[in-house]
């Protein structure tokens, strides 16, 4: 499998880990591995808006840092004890995050170089 596809799998892992950490287990995952960009959307029902959602938005919309990809990307989605959201933010170009009608939706975009 190509490196890029492995990264897609790890990004999904990390997003699921975030939802699970907030006790959200009924999820819809939509993945579009396009020619120009990877787009992953995860949605789930959520009674309360997670406290850290604004921070998550900030982190996932921080600038992509390509230099971290080949060095640290294997940490993504790897551990059941720690989150790698900073690293996730470095691997994606931008993210749309919304909480409406008790539905939490996170979509991340990663341009394919």
């Amino acid at each position: 499998m190509t490196n890029e596809r492995m990264k897609a799998i790890k990004i999904v892992d990390e997003l699921i880990a975030y939802f699970f950490a907030h006790q959200l287990t009924d999820l819809t995952i939509d993945l579009n591995y396009g020619l120009s960009q990877l787009e992953i959307s995860v949605q789930g029902s959520c009674d309360q808006k997670p406290d850290d959602l604004d921070q998550l938005k900030e982190v996932l919309n921080s600038e992509r840092q390509e230099e971290l990809e080949e060095y640290y990307s294997s940490l993504l989605g790897e551990s059941r004890n720690y989150h790698e959201l900073n690293l996730l933010g470095a691997l994606v170009d931008s993210a749309d995050i919304s909480y409406q009608n008790q539905q939490l939706s996170i979509t991340v975009y990663r341009k394919r170089s």
């Binding site: 600038e63 390509e66 940490l75 720690y82 975009y109």
Partner: protein, 440 residues
Amino acid sequence: MQKSTEYKSLSIARALKKEEIDVMKIEERVKYAIMTIFAAILAGSAFIFNNLSEIIVGMGEIAIAPSILVTDYMVVGNIGASLFNAGILMLISIYLAYKNDVNMNGPVIAAAFTIAGFALFGKNLFNIWPVILGVYFRSIYEREKFSKLLLPALFGTALGPLVSQVSFGFGLHPVLAIIFGIFVGILAGFALPPLANHFVRFHQGFNLYNIGFTAGITGMVFMAIFRSFGLDNPNTLLVAEGLNRPFTIYFVIYFGFMLMIGFVLNNRTFNGYAKLMNYSGRLVTDFVSLNGFGLSLINMALLGYLSMAYVLMVGGEFNGPIIGGMFTIIGFGAFGKHLKNVWPLFVGVYIASLLKIWEVNSTAALLAALFGTTLAPIAGGYGWFFGIIAGLVHMAMVMNVGGLHGGMNLYNNGFSGGFVAAILTPLFDSLKRFKGDADY
């Protein structure tokens, strides 16, 4: 997914992103300029200690030194030449980052200062290039941009002594030795990127000097092969003494300058420092992205003062390796280390030195204390008590693993730290002690 809404949202995000990038570009220029000034000061200050001809002669002696651990370039060459070597190598690192359009963020700052630090005792203008070239060949082989492999290339120069020892230390035919030295350096550089990405999982990011562990394993393999041909490295401990007075003054000013710039860039405040100290520091914690360049400089300067105070308080000597340790700490002040997660490691190594067979102010014990802060994320993630335990274990481990690579890997503490983190963190996790980051 409702595609139309998604694409609209995406276009807004892209537009916002573009504005953000434009702002960042201006900031990048400032960051690059400041880092260049720090490197230029280092190179320029060589002339305080020696004149031009002495520096040139010293640089030549440094370039042909086998450079295995621990070889103080202040002894091999002279003080001026080693500082000049440090400044030039740091400038090269900054230039490589700039040329490859990499942002001057935490990891790059850490790499630049680490290279500067180790250019006082093991890296030089000759031995860094084969490793960098090997990583470059890897990028060509994988059809990836070199920028993606810049960090393994910069940190990978830890294997500089592999190149130098083969070229000048094994007593082979001079020309063939240099060719062979360059070849093994390229080979090691080519192997490093996939290994580094693989081994980071071993310690789960709790060992900040990840390449140290990777280079330790790589150096161990090369050394085992060399030994099977009857080639071995001598035990080396070559360190300068009697330089505490000039270097205390020097670093009070150097760190003061860093603190002042950080203070100005952080809107003339220390605001945010308490938040910065809430991060565990585990890989990947880029303080520049998370907390800003100014606050990172403040943190780096404070860590510089703390390490300097530790060395002086235990009666240690400032020399190439010790100053190298201080530079590495300040570099990682932008990438995982802060006052709160560093001090337990100092205490752990200090207690170990008191209880065990090593003198607390010996170069080896001081190096273990300074570079032992590679395990700072353990203190940051599990608490100070566990950080002290990590320091105690690290002190014993680091004195035992150097022989495996025969001093070919300059980041011996990173090698040891990888084992310590891999052993301790699953145990601490089993006790459910990970506190996590306060936020991310």
